[in-house]
Symmetry: C2
Subunit: 178 residues, 2 copies
């Protein structure tokens, strides 16, 4: 199969079916490949094209990608920008700061229907109205997070949470982390 075809989602599929395709394609793309940069780059592309194939609010996703544990941070733990699709983003985020930092610090998925109401929200893009962040955990340590932003409020629900957590678990075990 031509690799780019993995990004093509059929019209009129449900969000559940689209996420199942993301998981299925990720499994194929990660086969015999554990390089985390390579795998996160392709997964960001899968997620982006998945959302763009769905009806609103999913097609209003304006950022899909990853932050990883910053290897250069000595004292305070922080996240550093990883592969993504969308507009330019903040380079680093301290654990505990904003939605991403809270997911990293608490090891808990953050499903945020209105980012303006989230204490300490970091506005990398003023257009972002809602967000979901899922930690990727290896041996009880956060190695990365999945971050998805949407220009509509209430852009994400329990279906997104369920499948992004499955994806996070798959990514966690399928890559070699620095």
């Amino acid at each position: 199969m031509v690799h780019a075809d993995a990004s093509n989602f059929t019209a009129d599929i449900t969000k559940e079916e689209a996420y199942q395709q993301v998981l299925y394609q990720a499994e194929g793309l990660f086969y015999e490949q554990r390089n985390w940069v390579c795998n996160l780059s392709n997964t960001a592309s899968l997620l982006w094209h998945c959302y763009k194939s769905l009806p609103a609010p999913s097609n209003a996703v304006n950022w899909a990608g990853f932050y990883t544990l910053d290897p250069s941070s000595s004292q305070k733990q922080q996240l550093i920008l990883g592969p993504f699709q969308g507009k330019v983003a903040c380079q680093t985020i301290l654990f505990g700061r904003g939605v991403c930092g809270t997911a990293a610090a608490t090891k808990q998925t953050q499903l945020v229907p209105d980012v303006e109401k989230f204490p300490g929200h970091i506005a990398c893009d003023g257009d972002t109205k809602s967000e979901i962040v899922v930690p990727i955990i290896v041996d009880d340590k956060v190695v990365a997070i999945i971050d998805i932003d949407c220009t509509q409020e209430h852009g994400f629900d329990e279906v997104d949470k369920k499948y992004l957590q499955q994806l996070a678990d798959f990514i966690a075990k399928s890559c070699d982390w620095p």
Copy 2:
């Protein structure tokens, strides 16, 4: 400045002006940040939005990103997928294979008006008709390549080559490479 604004290019600017903005924004985004994954991720976004702001053929760019030297390759040198924007892509490319592998092996920019006529072209995406690949060289060694694909033939010219080579030089000296 909100980070995402770096991806916003004014309408009606020339390709030269758009590339100058990419270089200017990259300089700002790389300030006090030498992490190569972070910097290549933001640069792929800058390039993507640069092309989308321009008239044809530039706005027909369908892939913009990077491959880097694969640290896991022991015998044969190969490239591995890095941060990008666009559809899912090939994970690894041997030095010497296709347009990317030729740029890596020869350390020379490959400006290819018609990929079908390039010996050994690797079709990651059948929609791609033309391509430009610029090596990123540190101490006479290829550490990465910039790869841009276009769905129109003759998508790139000497202006693209000039500015992408400037960008490659800037990236080479501004990141710590593995």
